[in-house]
C-alpha cells in the first residue's frame, strides 16, 4: 500500500511542478529560425512588456513534435512539415497552419582571385563530398580546393546538406567553422578556398558564384530561381489567436522583416 501512496504522491508532485507556469507563448524548433525568433521576441516584448515569450531550439522536428504534443504554441521550422508529421497531427486532432516568415538563401563563395565564375549544383556536391579536389577539374587553375564548411551544429550546415549535397556527408578534410563570418574570413585569406554563407554575409573580400547560371540575390531567392534557397516557417495549431497572432503579425510586418534582414536572411517585404 505504501508504494501506491508513493506513486500517487510522485504523480501529484510532478503535476504541480510541471504545471506551475504562468501564461506565456512558447516557440520551439529550428536552430536556423532561432536567431530571428529570439530577436523578434526581444523587440516584441519591449513594445508589449506583459508578453512573456520563451524561445527554444532543438531542431525543426523537435518543434513540430512539440506543437503536435501541445507543448509549444509556435513551431519554428526550416523545412516544410512532413506528411508523417501531418498524419500524426491530424490523428491527434490538430489543425496545423503554416506561416512563411522569411527565405533562406545560401551563397557559395570563393577567393576573389579564383577564375571560376559559376558552378552547377552537381559540381558543388562533388567538391563537398570529395569527388573533385582540384580547381583544374572545373576549368580553373591547377590548385587544390580547400573546402570550408559550417560546423554540423549550425542550421546553415543542415540546409546546405539538404539543398546542395542531397544529404550526403561533407568530406572529412573540410575546415569546419563556427560562424558565417569565420567562413568569409578563411575564404578571403585562402586562394584555393570555397565556402558557403547566408546571403547577408557576402562581402567584397570574397566572390559569390553563380549556381546553375543564377547569381544569389534577394530577388533570385524570392523567385526561387536561385537553387540553394528555402522558405522558413512558423507553424501554429489552427489560425493564430491572441498573443500568438500578435507575434506572427509582428514578425511578418515591415518592422519584423527588418529583423529578418539584419540576421542575414531574405525578408518577404
Amino acid at each position: 500500500m505504501k508504494y501506491v501512496k508513493l506513486l500517487i504522491l510522485t504523480i501529484t508532485l510532478m503535476s504541480f511542478g510541471l504545471n506551475a507556469y504562468g501564461e506565456k507563448i512558447i516557440l520551439e524548433g529550428s536552430t536556423t529560425v532561432l536567431p530571428i525568433a529570439q530577436k523578434a521576441a526581444e523587440v516584441f516584448m519591449k513594445s508589449k512588456p506583459k508578453a512573456n515569450i520563451s524561445v527554444r531550439g532543438g531542431g525543426s522536428g523537435v518543434g513540430i513534435a512539440s506543437l503536435i504534443d501541445g507543448n509549444c504554441d509556435i513551431a519554428n521550422s526550416s523545412r516544410p512539415i512532413r506528411p508523417s508529421e501531418l498524419d500524426k497531427a491530424i490523428a491527434r486532432g490538430k489543425d496545423i497552419k503554416a506561416h512563411v516568415i522569411a527565405m533562406d538563401g545560401i551563397a557559395v563563395i570563393v577567393h576573389p582571385s579564383n577564375k571560376i565564375k559559376g558552378l552547377t549544383k552537381k559540381q558543388i556536391k562533388d567538391i563537398y563530398t570529395g569527388k573533385i579536389s582540384n580547381w583544374s577539374q572545373l576549368g580553373g587553375d591547377n590548385q587544390k580546393i580547400v573546402v570550408v564548411s559550417r560546423d554540423s551544429a549550425s542550421g546553415t550546415f543542415e540546409a546546405f546538406g539538404e539543398l546542395a549535397l542531397d544529404k550526403e556527408k561533407v568530406r572529412p578534410d573540410a575546415i569546419m567553422q563556427a560562424s558565417n563570418q569565420a567562413v568569409v574570413s578563411v575564404v578571403a585569406k585562402t586562394s584555393g578556398a570555397i565556402g558557403y554563407v547566408g546571403l547577408g554575409y557576402i562581402e567584397p573580400s570574397v566572390k559569390a558564384l553563380e549556381i546553375n547560371g543564377v547569381m544569389p540575390s534577394k530577388e533570385t531567392v524570392l523567385t526561387e530561381k536561385y537553387p540553394i534557397a528555402r522558405p522558413l516557417f512558423m507553424y501554429t495549431n489552427g489560425a493564430p489567436q491572441g498573443l500568438v497572432k500578435e507575434f506572427i503579425d509582428f514578425i511578418k510586418s515591415v518592422q519584423g522583416q527588418r529583423l529578418v534582414d539584419e540576421d542575414g536572411f531574405v525578408p518577404l517585404k
Binding site: 510522485t10 504523480i11 531550439g57 497552419k97 512563411v100 554540423s152 572529412p172 526561387e224 522583416q257 518577404l268
Partner: protein, 425 residues
C-alpha cells in the same frame, strides 16, 4: 491593396483546390502579378508556399475522411526470424554436450486508436508452452516432431491512455518498452511482456533536457485457489536525457524495484524455470528489493575527425543491487554499440558487445535474458553481436555468448552461437 491581396489569395486558393493539376499555371499567374507590380516577389512566395502547405494538409485530411475511421486508425507491423543455433555446454572435464537446432520466430502486431486519447495494441507471436522469455519455436519438436504444426499465443494486449500531454497510463499485457527503460538486457529479457499498469511521465524540462518517470504495478502471480497474497512487482524509474549538442546525448535512469510476497513462495514448475539458481528446494528463498542505476551515452559520427564514417557509438551500463540481502546480491552489464543506429537497408551494419555478471541472488531469475546462460543468475558472460543489412528491411545477424557459472566450482562454461535471418514488415 490589402483587399486586392485577400482576393488574390482567395483566387489562388480556389485554383489550387479545384485545379491542382494546374498548379504550374498558378505559378505563372503569381509571376505575372509580380511583374505587373501588384504583388512583391516576397508576397508571391508567401502566398504560394503557405497555399502549398494548406493543400498538403487538405490532402492529408481528405485521406482520412475518405476511409472508414476504424480502418484509418489501424496499423500492422510484424517480423519473421529464422535461426540456426549451436550450443556447447561443458559441465566438467568428462562431460560436454553440443546441440544444433533450427528455430523460427514470427510476431504480428496491430495498433489502433480508440479515440483521441486512447490507443490499443494487440500482438500475437510464436511460442512454446507459454514461455514468457522466448517467442522462438524449435524445428523438429522433440515430442511430436516431423514438421508438426506450431503454436501461436497472445504476446501482448494493452490500452494506452494519454491523459495529459506528459502523462500516459498503460494497462494490460504490455510491451516492455512501455514499462521500463533498460540500456542493456541485464534484468529484463526483451521478449517479456509485463502484466499490470504503468503511469509513464515524460516532460521536456528545457531545450536540452527531457525528464521521464515510469511507475509500474505488475503482477507476478495471481493464484486465486488460496488466500495467499500474489507475487507483485512495484517499480519506480525516474530518469533524464540531456542533449549536449546535435552529436552527443546522455540518458540516465535510476530504478527501484520491490518484489512482494516472493519469499517461501513455491517455485513455478513450468519447464523453462527448472534450472533456477535462486530457489532452494521447491521455493524461493528471499524477497527482492532492487536499486538499479543505468546510463547510456550516444555519440553521432564519433570518428568524423579522423575521417571514418560511422553513424553512431553508444556506451552503456547498468548496475543492480538487491538491498534485501548482503551476499551474491549485485550484478552489472557494460557494453558498447557501434555502427548504424538501425539496420534498414543494404550495407547498414552494427556491432555490439556486452559483458554481464549477475550474482546468484541479485535479481529474481524469472526475468533475465534467456539466451544468456539459460536465463540463470550466478553467472558472468561475454556477448558479441554483428548485424548486417542485406536489403530493405532484411538483415543477417550473428550473436555469440560465452558464459560461465560463478557459483559452480567447475565453472560449467557454455558457448552459444546464433545466426539469424531477420525480415521486418
Amino acid at each position: 491593396m490589402k483587399f486586392i491581396r485577400i482576393i488574390l489569395i482567395g483566387f489562388v486558393w480556389f485554383m489550387f483546390v479545384n485545379f491542382i493539376s494546374y498548379a504550374g499555371e498558378v505559378d505563372i499567374l503569381l509571376q505575372k502579378l509580380v511583374e505587373k507590380g501588384i504583388l512583391t516577389p516576397g508576397e508571391a512566395q508567401e502566398i504560394k508556399t503557405e497555399t502549398q502547405e494548406q493543400i498538403k494538409k487538405e490532402i492529408a485530411q481528405g485521406k482520412y475522411s475518405n476511409l472508414p475511421q476504424w480502418l484509418q486508425n489501424i496499423s500492422l507491423k510484424g517480423d519473421l526470424r529464422t535461426r540456426y543455433q549451436f550450443r556447447h555446454e561443458k559441465a566438467d572435464n568428462n562431460y560436454s554436450k553440443d546441440t544444433h537446432i533450427g528455430r523460427v520466430r514470427m510476431r504480428l502486431g496491430l495498433d489502433t486508436k480508440v479515440n483521441e486519447q486512447i490507443k490499443a495494441g494487440i500482438g500475437i507471436a510464436t511460442n512454446s508452452g507459454g514461455d514468457p522469455r522466448s517467442t522462438n519455436i524449435s524445428f523438429g519438436d522433440k515430442n511430436s516432431g516431423h514438421s508438426s504444426k506450431m503454436e501461436i499465443r497472445l504476446d501482448y494486449a494493452y490500452a494506452k491512455y494519454s491523459a495529459l500531454s506528459w502523462l500516459d497510463i498503460v494497462g494490460g499485457k504490455m510491451l516492455l518498452s512501455d514499462v521500463v527503460w533498460e540500456p542493456v538486457d541485464l534484468i529484463w529479457d526483451t521478449d517479456i511482456t509485463p502484466e499490470g499498469a504503468v503511469f509513464a511521465l515524460n516532460k521536456k524540462l528545457g531545450s536540452h533536457l527531457d525528464g521521464f518517470m515510469n511507475n509500474a504495478v505488475l503482477f507476478g502471480t495471481a493464484d486465486t485457489s488460496t488466500n495467499a497474497d500474489p507475487i507483485m512487482l512495484y517499480m519506480v524509474q525516474p530518469g533524464l536525457k540531456y542533449k549536449f549538442n546535435d552529436a552527443i546525448s546522455l540518458k540516465s535512469g535510476f530504478s527501484f524495484y520491490s518484489w512482494q510476497n516472493v519469499k517461501n513462495k513455491a517455485y513455478p514448475t513450468d519447464s523453462w524455470y527448472k534450472s533456477s539458481n535462486t530457489k532452494s528446494g521447491t521455493s524461493w528463498v528471499y524477497d527482492y528489493t532492487l536499486i538499479t542505476p543505468a546510463l547510456e551515452l550516444s555519440i553521432n559520427e564519433p570518428f568524423k575527425a579522423i575521417g571514418l564514417n560511422v553513424e553512431k557509438l553508444k556506451l552503456f551500463g547498468e548496475y543492480v543491487n538487491n538491498v534485501h540481502i548482503s551476499d551474491n546480491n549485485t550484478g552489472f552489464g557494460l557494453g558498447f554499440q557501434l555502427g548504424s543506429d538501425k539496420i534498414n537497408k543494404f550495407g547498414d551494419w552494427q556491432c555490439k558487445y556486452i559483458y554481464a555478471m549477475l550474482g546468484k541472488d541479485a535479481i529474481l531469475d524469472v526475468t533475465p535474458d534467456s539466451d544468456r546462460y539459460h536465463g540463470k543468475t550466478g553467472m558472468r558472460s561475454h556477448e558479441g553481436i554483428f548485424s548486417f543489412g542485406l536489403g530493405k528491411n532484411t538483415s543477417l545477424g550473428v550473436d555469440v555468448y560465452r558464459s560461465w557459472s560463478i557459483i559452480d566450482t567447475r565453472k560449467a562454461p557454455e558457448t552459444v552461437i546464433q545466426v539469424d535471418w531477420n525480415l521486418k514488415f
